[in-house]
Amino acid sequence: MKQQEFETKYQDTWHTFEAMIDHYHTNNITPGKEFPTLYRQICGHLSLVRERHYASSIEIYLNRLITQGHHILYEHSGKIRWHDILKAIALFPAALQRNGFYVLWATLLFVVPGLFTAFFTYADTSFIYSIIEPNTVQDIEFMYDPKNNKLGRENRGSDTDIAMFGIYIYNNIGIAFRTFAGGILFGLGAAFFLVFNGLYLGAVASRLTMAGFSSTFYPFVIGHGAFELTAIVFSGAAGLKIGHALINPRQYTRLTALKLAARDAVHIMYGATLMLFVAAFLEAFWSSSSTLPIAVKLSVGVLFWALVIWFCFYSRLGYRNEL
């Protein structure tokens, strides 16, 4: 069959299909049952065009038609359903447990430098200045000094809560995201953020404890810390995972190993993102309360830690079959 004959014979099919695609894009009308049938026919036509070496213009035209058709056939629902969010939550602990190796390393990279600076700050109070600027240290001390009564959200308007909420979202979640992303530089970026945050927090905690501000500092941090510190460590673990895939890709090519690692790591990042939102909320609206008794804040904080640890490392949620 010559090209012209071929075109005249099937033109109507192509035009019907093209009209359905246009209809879908302009009026958002899902094509009917005949759509897949037409799609398969046109796929066949394209193969014939290639086989018979017809002119490239017709090949380009048919290639475009079926590319667009393919997109419509494989399109997602375009809605966020509750089911998807619950599924992400359920798959999160399973992903963490699968990647225990990286979670362990991330924890060590965060905690060991923390203990290190905590110890040196304890031995020599001025050690903190080699990590944090004196002015910043002063600001931090001022904030947690029980005499100044700076933390109580009851002393400030609810508008300040919202302002703080915004700051926590912007800063803390941003740090966690960068920690993950840094992992692609052979894990170095993730390790850097983990170590740096560990050093910083260890020094601050030690300094405030020695200054006798434990009664304001620990009740403040324990609640949201359960979600925030763990989520930062988990983001680091996800980053280390993609970095390690590049260093040791095993039987895959580096590119494939990277893709596989990222596909798994994203489950950790979904969970970590949710945890960080929870942490920002708690930090702005719960941790900062000064009227709640310290005992209540500490025990709720301990409860949060227990809950997070149980959920992340012991729950078997993602393993159920129905998901």
């Binding site: 035209y61 590319t67 700051i167 979904y270």
Partner: protein, 238 residues
């Protein structure tokens, strides 16, 4: 002169690539390079800048709480603006739409949540140390202009141009059978020449036709005319 009968032996230096789906269909797509993507990014940045300004002014009236809302907007636009558009708007942010490019998975299916999330989280590294130097380096070194985020997510940015079909023109010339047997590639070259002759200047047509003298035994204007007649015959004009 010989047009290679075996087809091109080595892959051409081209941005086009083929993907075969599990259904056995072969798609062809053209990867978009750094320039349209940078321009698209500029447009997106302008839109984001505009939204920042509007939100900044309106939240300014809300005092302290407004600061919080502003930062939350900043966070969402910085990290999730591309994700939302890529997933819900057919792989296209407004900037990408303006330059007719879109993000797809490597198998040319619509980009999924997870992949879009990964590629946009890793933007934080592509942007380093300044002006997307890592991203640009990675694009120039990779096969399909992929930045680091694209490589990890398994996504590509492709052209989304709608090439209209060239209407088969009624040919004024008398169809004429080729003087000798032609290879598939020769046939194809001649049909392409016929279909595209309206875009090529007369003198260039003649120049091209002279190259085919071993096949047609004619050159110059006469050769071009004969080639178009052969083309008409090959296309099946009657």
């Amino acid at each position: 002169m010989t047009v290679n009968a075996q087809g091109p032996t080595n892959t051409p230096l081209d941005t086009h690539f083929n993907v075969e789906t599990p259904e056995g269909i072969q798609f062809n797509a053209a990867a978009a390079g750094p320039i349209p993507r940078m321009l698209a990014y500029t447009i997106d940045s302008l839109w984001r800048g505009l939204v920042y300004c509007i939100v900044f002014i309106t939240t300014d009236f809300l005092g302290k709480a407004g600061e919080g809302f502003f930062l939350i907007t900043l966070f969402l636009l910085e990290w999730f603006y591309p994700v939302v558009f890529e997933v819900f708007r057919n792989g296209q942010t407004p900037g990408k739409k303006a330059f007719k490019i879109k993000v797809v998975n490597e198998d040319l299916t619509p980009v999924t949540w997870g992949n879009s999330f990964i590629r946009n989280l890793l933007r934080a590294v592509d942007i380093l140390p300044f002006f997307y130097v890592f991203g640009l380096t990675s694009m120039t070194l990779s096969k399909h202009f992929q930045r680091l985020g694209d490589m990890a997510a398994g996504t590509v940015v492709i052209y989304n141009t709608a090439a209209p079909m060239r209407a088969p023109k009624e040919n004024a010339l008398e169809p004429c059978a080729p003087p000798k047997a032609l290879t598939p590639n020769e046939r194809r070259a001649i049909t392409e020449f016929t279909l595209r002759s309206s875009d090529i200047s007369e003198s260039r047509q003649e120049e091209l036709a002279t190259l085919l003298k071993p096949v047609t035994d004619k050159e110059g204007e006469e050769g071009a005319k004969l080639l178009k007649s052969i083309g008409a015959w090959l296309l099946g004009h009657k």
